[in-house]
Symmetry: C2
Subunit: 524 residues, 2 copies
């Protein structure tokens, strides 16, 4: 086995560090065998690529162990890379940005510490998955719902820290977290918000405190290791109504988005919708070979046929209403009327009592009802390889018809022309004023040339979209630096500001070097 060493460290240096980690955590909490490390690689990377490979993995179980880890890392100058569950697939999974980093996996810190029925929140450790939190709420008999992402296997904390999207009203504007506990690079334990006062019971109900609020400094960040987080829950409404909107023309996207913004701004639609194009839906429901044999991108007439036969239209939006039944009825009528002005558009759905959500057949309707699942993960098989994968290119834009169409044209053009791939898009308005354009660049992970083409396409997209003023909300390991490079206002004043903080709070640069383009001084 060839150990991947971090920069400036010899094999002996690393051995000494691992010995120290073993002494502090116990030998079973330090993984260093090639076999053990394999599951901590980017699941969608081509197998022979050895970028982004860890030298070891640590599995702490307590805050004190994390403090010991950063102490040892500082002594031995070992770069760490943290994850919650490590399911950040599409952006690199559990793999570190810097090859040779020691991964700190928080999977064993998986306790739901508190569920507060009165004020409707939970407090979780970073290894708690959406499945775990959902189960804990059910097991406690709480009439509360958790806003979940599309795949339930991820960490509540990890997903939140990556600015991950969830879909209930409590997830709108990514506003559901409240109050963090953080182990800083120097080993101190910081509590944010009201948690900075001993015995304060408002830690997880009020988002600020006296003085500056650092919480969002720890999002997409290498400034600390979050060890506890409050997450706001939603009381079960009287009525839940998952809904679908389908339009048949590619250019109906403009009217769809314009109508949607009005309905979100006036709070008729309170949750986070998703707008899928035909190819995205087809990738979940079928494989490409069923529709088209050619190597070039699927042409429009075939997409139209897929739209009809799969009954997903050229664009289909999932969304939901929550509340008292009479309010839901009013809003459904209003939504139906508003979208009904788009020729050929259809809106449908059925009301559901909260008790019945877990039994709904459609996984999207369960996700929007707060019931985590993994059903839509199968999209990765689109290109027919044994092991499909995808990487995401995910810029943010104003929630306007003009921006939606401009971004679609830009991305579809580049994906098809330059990469020769199909354009799979999911648009997610995380609030009433903006949306994230998730571009699912799907490829066969066993086909090196195709994988390389997918990566190259994403890098081109990052550059070209930035020229038109569109920037990524999150970036894959392989183009984190490039994506960050685009945020260059004031000759990179933002990056310099974060680097200044980084150098001050983590002078040895031990925490997640390179995370979102922020490198410690020695590696810049």
């Amino acid at each position: 086995m060839t150990t991947m060493l971090p920069p400036h460290l010899s094999e002996q240096d690393l051995t000494h560090a691992l010995d120290a980690f073993r002494a502090a955590l116990g030998p079973e909490a330090v993984l260093a065998d090639e076999d053990e490390l394999r599951e901590f690689r980017d699941p969608f990377a081509f197998a022979a690529w050895d970028d982004y490979t860890a030298s070891a993995v640590l599995m702490p179980q307590t805050v004190e162990q994390i403090q010991a880890i950063v102490r040892i890392a500082n002594e031995h100058r070992v770069p760490l890379w943290t994850h919650g569950a490590g399911m950040n697939n599409g952006y690199g999974g559990p793999a570190p940005r810097l090859t040779g980093s020691v991964v700190v996996s928080l999977r064993r810190m998986n306790r739901v510490l508190e569920i507060d029925e009165e004020c409707a929140y939970a407090v979780v450790e970073p290894g708690v998955r959406w499945f775990d939190l959902y189960d804990a709420i059910r097991a406690g008999g709480h009439k509360l719902m958790v806003s979940v992402p599309d795949l339930g296997w991820g960490s509540v904390v990890g997903n939140t820290l990556e600015n991950g999207v969830t879909y209930l009203p409590t997830g709108a504007d990514m506003a559901s977290s409240c109050g963090l506990e953080v182990v800083l690079p120097n080993g101190e334990v910081l509590r944010t918000g009201m948690g900075a006062m001993p015995g304060n019971k408002a830690w997880h109900v009020y988002k600020r405190s006296l003085g500056p609020s650092p919480d969002h400094l720890f999002m997409q960040s290498n400034l600390g290791i979050v060890t506890k987080m409050g997450v706001w829950l939603m009381p079960e409404p009287e009525c839940y109504m998952p809904l679908w909107l389908r339009v048949w023309n590619e250019d109906d996207l403009h009217a769809l988005v314009e109508t949607l913004r009005g309905l979100m701004l006036d709070r008729t639609i309170e949750n986070v919708p998703q707008i899928w194009n035909t190819i995205s839906f087809a990738s979940v429901m079928s494989s490409r070979a069923l529709w088209y044999e050619g190597d070039e991108p699927i042409p429009d007439p075939v997409i139209d046929r897929m739209a009809r036969e799969l009954e997903v239209g050229r664009w289909m939006m999932r969304f939901a209403l929550y509340g008292d039944e009479s309010v839901v009825d009013h809003r459904f009528a209003k939504v139906k009327e508003a979208f009904g002005r788009i020729p050929g558009a259809e809106v449908w759905g059925e009301k559901c009592s909260p008790d019945a959500i877990a039994g709904l057949e459609n996984p999207h309707e369960r996700v929007q009802g707060g019931v985590p699942n993994l059903d839509i993960n199968q999209m990765t098989g689109w290109y027919g390889g044994e092991e499909g994968g995808h990487i995401g290119f995910s810029p943010v834009a104003r929630l306007t018809g003009d921006d939606a169409v401009a971004l679609r044209d830009l991305i579809r053009g580049l994906v098809e022309r330059e990469a020769g791939l199909d354009y799979a898009a999911v648009l997610i308005p995380t609030n009433a004023r903006s949306f994230i354009h998730i571009t699912l660049v799907i490829f066969d992970t066993k086909d090196e040339a195709e994988a390389r083409r997918a990566y190259d396409a994403c890098k081109l997209l990052v550059r070209e979209a930035a020229k038109d003023g569109y920037g990524e909300y999150r970036a894959h390991l392989d183009f984190m630096d490039l994506a960050a490079e685009q945020y260059s206002f004031g000759d990179h004043a933002y990056r310099r500001f974060v680097e200044t903080i980084k150098d001050a709070v983590d002078p040895n640069g031990i925490l997640s070097p390179g995370k979102q383009g922020i490198w410690p001084k020695a590696l810049r």
Copy 2:
């Protein structure tokens, strides 16, 4: 005239610095006469006290001038203290924490830079007052409402940066700002969020970007001078319904709060209510001498008489509904039914079209309708002095009946027993899970002994409330350090973390030394 010098600076040093400021900004932008400086003192401080006095005031008009100011301040080691409009009354007004600081008043940077009807937001400079933004929206014919605080004379940016409360649904959870431009202590211009990408149009519609989000680091902060801010606006609803809830027993507070939390958690009430006690209302509507001659706190039977005669009950809550008329009707019936379970409780109000809000007689109904005014400022005359004032003690608590009653008992007990003052309270649930208990400690600013007693009472409150785990959301200059001192978890890990950032980004400690208890290295 005696110039108040900052620490470590001679009169000559200051003169040189002021000369440099005059050369950079023009002489009319540098105020240093005693008369000119008077309006930049704490308006409610006893006149002879000379704490918190500025040595000069600068009135820049452009970002470039602010860059010049921080450059000169670094060269001459001059401490600055920034305000927007400087109407932070109750917490020290425009006065600096550190005597001798040069105040940077942003009152002349008062342009509304943009009103975006499509995505419902405005972009403002820091000198723009709520009145100005409201006027600009009206003048532009926009069908948009701005979430305003109780007094319209303050700065939109200044109020927001102090975590100030506003009352429309867009103001809930203090979530209405989006995207900052900041002059850093080194003179660089930082744009947060998507603004860090040149030409990005999502700056004021999406609150994060790639990497850590520093926006909330600039709230209640001395880490930068904010020069532009986006503020989300609300499209005019079909129907606006300001409402009142009145209860007659002091202990009805428990049931009121319990009921309210349920109605906020399920989004029946979407705005930020205010719950006033009898004395608070009486202070706006009358003067104390009308009710009671004694020096000791007004006893309960007299409060009951005030409650009856002023028709404000022992507690009265203002709140409002916004939306389609049928939804408002449903919610009004629901609210009436829910609060109706409290014996003797009454709920009333009248529906209003958005066009008619400015004509409403009751200032509270105008505030919740987004029409700024100054009507409730008259509360300061309670103790009958020519020039009344108040200071605020403002802890945060969980929005539960138990917490509301416990905090009331604690604060009322101390205010009455230790300070001999009346207990004037306004409880503000800024979200569905927490509230701020604004304690209005009202006194005659011409009576030194009474003023001293009010200050002493607040300091006692800070200490005693912290023992029970209640911390302030904002603090007066005179007890900022004390309030910050209570946030001591991890042997002051929070303060040390912010100080570390402060030292890194502002090594000369020029920006607002002492703000919320954060001092630069040389002054710790």
